[in-house]
Amino acid sequence: MRKITKALLGATTALTISAALPSVSQAAELTLCWAAWDPANALVELSKDFTAQTGTEMKFEFVPWPNFADRILNELNSGGKLCDLLIGDSQWLGGSAENGYYVKLNDFFDKEGIKMSDFAEAAVNAYATWPKGTPNYWALPAMGDANAWFYRKDWFAKPEIQAEFKKATGRDLTVPATWAELIETAKFFNGKEIDGKKVYGAAIFTERASEGITMGITQALYANGFKYEMTPGKYDMDGAVNSPDAVKGLEEYKELYKCCTPPGYTDAYMGETLDAFKSGQAAMAMNWFAFFPGLYKDENVGGDKIGFFVNPKGTTAASTLGGQGISVVANTDNMDGALAYIKWFAQPDVQKKWWSLGGYAVHNAVLTDPSFKDSQPFAADFLVAMNQVQDFWQEPSYAILLQAMQKRMHDYVVADKGTAKEALDGLVSDWTEVFKDDGKL
């Protein structure tokens, strides 16, 4: 009988311990979800310090960009527990805040002395607040980013090309300062044979499925004074979204696509743009600043061969916003651990190391450092871009708004359907229906 009692006790203890073990291991572990790209690797390196300091093991779930929104939004909508921390797109803030997917961080920031005034204002507004610009914080600015350009500096420097360009255009071959110059330069290079290889003018975003073509086209639209509303906050889009300036911007983007992109370039986003440039096919290309450290290090096209420039002006100076904030997922089982990571990440020293590893810190301790501008060949451009960024809708219905724009823009630019005015009029109609459904109109 004693033997049976002992055996039962032993079994009960073993069961209790084994049941308790998962929660013990969970407490010492955090999963951070983000897109799979160059800065994610830098974050893995950076997070080793957090593990060393706290003993919390960091796990990462990195999803390729084309599937990032699908995968992570499905996870949030289904109440999944995959992510404790999420570096999500700025456009997700509205929906994630209103649906209770993110933890509101105001009290935590106050308690820990984390000040949003320590971060660049544009970044705070874009990556942390909902409603936009209000002091309601749902994330800590994690990764500043904007859409910008890079070019083959070595080709631009060739005397024979410079002479030819001067002869053809009557001006010196320099980095394009306006959209008109950008198109002119792209046309000049397109089809030219350089180093025995046919090259093309520019590699730009044309991707249909996720957000690619919208992120590319808004570079041209914002630069031409595109606005989402006539009166901010009123959702009165007619006359703003389809203004003559917006039509001009859209037509310029299509002109650039038609004249100067490499063959088969009908569905291209970040990866394809990088491929076109790295393989020596494109004289110029657009992409996010996040890729610039990797491009600069590239053995074939980096170093002295590459130069960078901010989005050229149209009627105004503007750039399309990228970048993200880091949020605590409300569904996490490890709230304390997740908040501890945010607290650690907000420290100026950590932010400095983040920049040095290739992440785009937007902490003032980094940006206002006198040595910042010279720390990387694209650092000065990053500062300029971050001061002129504009973002897409951050509304809870952003996904429908984005899909409508993807369709209208791809139909017009790539499939040659209708005119620019018709495309933008159609977009106004689509967006109006969305805001009516939301009760905002």
Binding site: R208, T266, D411, V414, A415, D437
Partner: protein, 347 residues
């Protein structure tokens, strides 16, 4: 020769071997393998179980076996269908768990049916289904007819022809995406070799005019073997003596083809059409991998529109209405077609 067994009905000891009290051979001539196997199975049935089952009728036992299947069917198919019908009359959005769900009557159906983009997607789907079926039937039947001649090496060539069908659509999609690449793709080079047109001067996947045909070519390449197999089964089901009788009647090969081969293989051909039509009506993966529905919305078939509405725009109510409309359309058409198929079979 047929071995029959009956249950004895006598009271038994729990430890007694099952064979001693459960089974009494009616005949001792149970020599076939099947009979021996059946007898062995009966002997192996544990006595308590045999007792419990004995109290149930055949109908009850049948229900016992099919209940799990019916439960699964209800849970996985029927309940979601009813739920989707319910959602189609609401403004529900799967990404707004905190929002109030309101009934919107027939608004979702009205919007779907009045949406020119959805009609465009339906036209694209119809174009894709029509041409793929036509090409697959013609080529598939022709291949089956050739293979049925049983020439030397026909088994080898049958296997070779079947290879595309064995591949995953994901592999096929990526594979053809490379083949169609205007700068390095083999397809463009082969076309260029025969026509002299520069390979990078046309884009199979990026051109509004060519992209629908690029997808039709890939689907035809992949699924013609499947049609061929079904047609081959049809051709091999035709008894030789019918052809021999036709030969005796001096019927020409042409006459034999149209009076014997086609009518007798027709039920199989119609079945192949049904399978391929249903499959291609909901075609998704290959189109996504090849063109993603582009350029613009040129190759956006109905399933892609539905996916975008449901899981990218998250308008669940509206997507449900579209799904129900598609379901009713496919179900209705398939029913009409199956009736026609039955008539052909009864001839």
């Amino acid at each position: 020769m047929t071995a029959r067994f009956r249950l004895s009905g006598r009271a038994v000891r729990p430890d007694a071997p099952a064979s001693r009290f459960l089974v009494t051979p009616v005949t001792d001539t149970d020599t076939s393998l099947m009979d021996k196997a059946a007898a062995k199975a009966v002997r192996a049935t544990p006595a308590p179980l045999a007792f419990r089952v004995r109290g149930l009728s055949d109908r009850s036992i049948a229900w016992l076996f099919i209940t799990p299947t019916i439960a699964l069917l209800l849970a996985i198919n029927i309940f979601p269908l009813i739920w989707a019908v319910y959602l189609s009359f609401t403004n529900f959005r799967a990404n707004r768990p905190n929002a109030e769900i309101n009934g919107v009557g027939l608004t979702n159906y009205q919007r779907v049916l009045n949406d020119p983009d959805i009609w465009q997607a339906m036209q694209t789907t119809a174009h894709f289904v029509f041409w793929t079926i036509l090409l697959q039937m013609l080529i598939g039947f022709a291949l089956a007819y050739l293979i049925d001649r049983k020439f030397r090496g026909h088994a080898f060539w049958t296997t070779v022809i079947l290879i595309p069908m064995m591949l995953s659509p994901a592999v096929v999609g990526n594979f053809w995406r490379f083949l169609y690449q205007p700068q390095i793709g083999l397809f463009n080079y082969i076309y260029s070799f025969f026509t002299g047109v520069p390979p990078s001067s046309f884009e199979m996947l990026g051109s509004v005019a060519l992209s629908p045909w690029a997808i039709i070519i890939v689907d035809t390449w992949m699924w013609t073997p499947y049609v061929m197999l079904i047609c081959l089964a049809g051709l091999r089901s035709i008894p030789d003596y019918i052809y021999e009788a036709a030969e005796v009647d001096r019927a020409s090969a042409w006459r034999q083809f149209w009076s014997i081969t086609v009518p007798m293989a027709l039920p199989f051909i119609m079945l192949a059409v049904l399978f391929r039509a249903i499959e291609n009506f909901k075609m998704f993966d290959m189109v996504v991998l090849l063109t993603g529905g582009g350029p613009g919305s040129t190759t956006e078939v109905a399933s892609i529109t539905l996916k975008r509405e449901a899981f990218e725009s998250w308008r669940t109510g509206r997507a449900s209405a579209f799904a129900i409309i598609l379901f009713v359309a496919v179900f209705g058409l398939a029913n009409i077609y199956v009736k026609a198929l039955n008539k052909v079979k009864q001839r």
